[in-house]
């Protein structure tokens, strides 16, 4: 019969010889193989203590950004909500009152800002749409909770820690983005 492809491999049907039928050499071979695995490096990452390094473009949970003085960048323009294909973002705008200049960078701000993390598909279009660099996707992932309503993150949960009051947490929340910003300023 003509073979259909040139990758055909014929299986050997020849009867096993005595050593092969004895099976013991095969067992010993197998045991040597398993024993050699004792000395192999273990690829496991002990997850909560160690995390895998992500690429800089990894898209995790959203973070609402502040500027260097700790003022919120968001002006509640709604572009992120428009851009969002999953319609996960809801917001309400408010006007900045006199005396609130240290809280909000511009005269309009988001009084309510919610992202439904169960709807979010982590596409990062909100980050692309934002003209004020107010929202970006962090490296945080796998949020877990017992109730669905807990997955609707409000503004307090989304906001980055204050850079002056809590600089360490701020640095941590920035993550890889801090390095990016450094390189941006250098360029």
């Amino acid at each position: 019969m003509q073979a259909l492809t040139n990758r055909v491999k014929t299986v050997s049907r020849k009867p096993m010889n005595f050593l092969e039928r004895l099976y013991i050499p095969a067992i010993i071979q197998g045991m040597i193989i398993t024993f050699s695995h004792i000395f192999k490096k273990n690829p496991t990452i002990s997850y909560p203590e160690q995390t895998r390094p992500f690429s800089p473009v990894f898209r995790g949970l959203q973070i609402l950004n502040r500027d260097e003085e700790g003022r919120e960048n968001c002006t509640a323009c709604g572009l992120c909500a428009v851009a969002c294909p999953a319609e996960a973002i809801t917001m309400e705008a408010a006007e900045r009152q006199p005396g609130e200049e240290h809280l909000y960078r511009e005269e309009k701000y988001a009084a309510r800002y919610e992202i439904n993390m169960l709807r979010c598909i982590f596409c990062g279009l909100c980050e692309e749409a934002c003209p004020k660099d107010a929202i970006y996707l962090s490296e945080t992932f796998t949020p877990a909770d017992y109730q669905r309503k807990k997955f609707i993150y409000n503004k307090q949960e989304l906001l980055i820690p204050h850079p002056k009051e809590d600089p360490e947490a701020y640095k941590k929340a920035l993550g890889n983005r801090a390095k990016q910003q450094d390189s941006d300023t250098k360029n």
């Binding site: 197998g30 045991m31 398993t34 024993f35 695995h37 004792i38 490096k41 273990n42 690829p43 496991t44």
Partner: protein, 346 residues
């Protein structure tokens, strides 16, 4: 006066029994941990490492879990036998440790204490008897479950033990030709003076090893359990600590059969190239216990190593190996040994 001596003797034996039973329980406990760790290492994984440092408290956590689990006795099972099964498995597993010499003698309070619970002159026959009773635990439990998978598992266990006990016994007869005694203690003493029996009986040891795997229901002979085809085999219907007893009995059996193999073929508590009589008796005994434990650990590792290497046999392959290969081989070994013994004794 007589009463006083007897009382000391009873206390001495009681303490020894408690130590041996607790020791074998502890070792069986950590054998479950070792099994998971060995499996993990052989498969490039980490294994249990959450409970305590290096996961060392894992067996404790497992035991607690089994204790607090809901206990289910199926409605159509026969209740008495259902409870008797795991108990019997556990009792027979522990009973075998009675005749194994764990070390030579120690001296406490001016008394010489033998580190063997009972030096009966038919020690090895006792072990055989108790081990073959162990299968009743499995069979009774399987039968009482009133479940077809459990029943198949129990049947397999029974026929497997019958088949492999024959070859095991015959391979042992060849060894008894050489030693001329059934007492385990005397066998160890003989091996201390001469060569280890494994040198004189390599084929006999090999057959004994294979049969020990089969008797312990360890892979590649774990057909009574066969979780992938019999959903757990004989312990399908068991839950909570009764299941724990079955699993635990398996590890104790493994420990005891390692100890038996070490005693019969690898000199028991004998350390090669070391003259024990020059040392203080207590130190010599300690070294002896350590040597025996080392041998046992090596055997337990072998059990686990084989488990994570060799796949389970098919049932007809199991029967073929038992009846048509091991028994003729054991008979041949017996004849050969007999001929050699006869020739040199002439």
């Amino acid at each position: 006066m007589f009463l006083a001596i007897d009382l000391a003797f009873i206390i001495e034996k009681l303490v020894l029994i408690i130590i041996v039973v607790m020791g074998s329980l502890l070792i069986a406990m950590y054998a479950t941990y070792a099994e998971r760790k060995v499996a993990a290492v052989l498969q490039d994984r980490s294994g249990p490492n959450r409970a305590g440092p290096f996961g060392l408290l894992q067996p404790v956590a497992d035991g607690m879990k089994l204790f607090f689990k809901e206990e289910i006795i199926p409605a159509f099972s026969s209740r008495f036998l259902f409870i008797l099964g795991p108990g019997l498995a556990m009792i027979t597993a522990i009973m075998t440790s009675a005749v194994i010499p764990w070390g030579n003698t120690v001296e406490f309070f001016g008394r010489t204490i033998s580190l063997q619970i009972a030096d009966v002159n038919i020690g090895i026959l006792y072990i055989f008897g108790v081990v073959s009773m162990g299968v009743y635990g499995i069979m009774i439990g399987a039968w009482a479950s009133n479940n077809k998978y459990a029943l198949i598992g129990g049947l397999r266990a029974a026929s497997q033990i019958i088949s492999y006990e024959l070859a095991m016994g015959i391979s042992l007869i060849a060894l008894l030709f050489l030693t001329g005694t059934l007492s385990l203690k005397e066998m160890v003493v003989q091996q201390q003076e001469g060569l280890w029996n494994v040198v004189k009986q390599p084929l006999g040891f090999f057959i004994f090893l294979i049969c020990a795997f089969a008797e312990c229901n360890r892979t590649p002979f774990d057909l009574p359990e066969a979780e992938s085809e019999l959903i757990g085999g004989y312990h399908t219907e068991y839950s909570s600590m009764k299941l724990g007893f079955y699993l635990f009995a398996e590890y104790i059996n493994m420990f005891i059969s390692s100890a038996v193999m070490a005693t019969l073929f690898f000199g028991g508590y004998d350390v090669p190239f070391l003259d024990e009589s020059t040392l203080a008796p207590n130190i010599a005994a300690l070294i002896g216990i350590a040597a025996l434990m080392f041998k046992i650990v090596c055997f337990i590792f072998l059990f686990m190593w084989v488990r994570w290497t060799v796949p389970r046999f098919r049932y007809d392959q199991l029967m073929h190996l038992g009846w048509r290969i091991l028994i003729p081989l054991a008979l041949f070994n017996m004849l050969l040994t007999g001929a050699v013994v006869l020739y040199f004794n002439k």
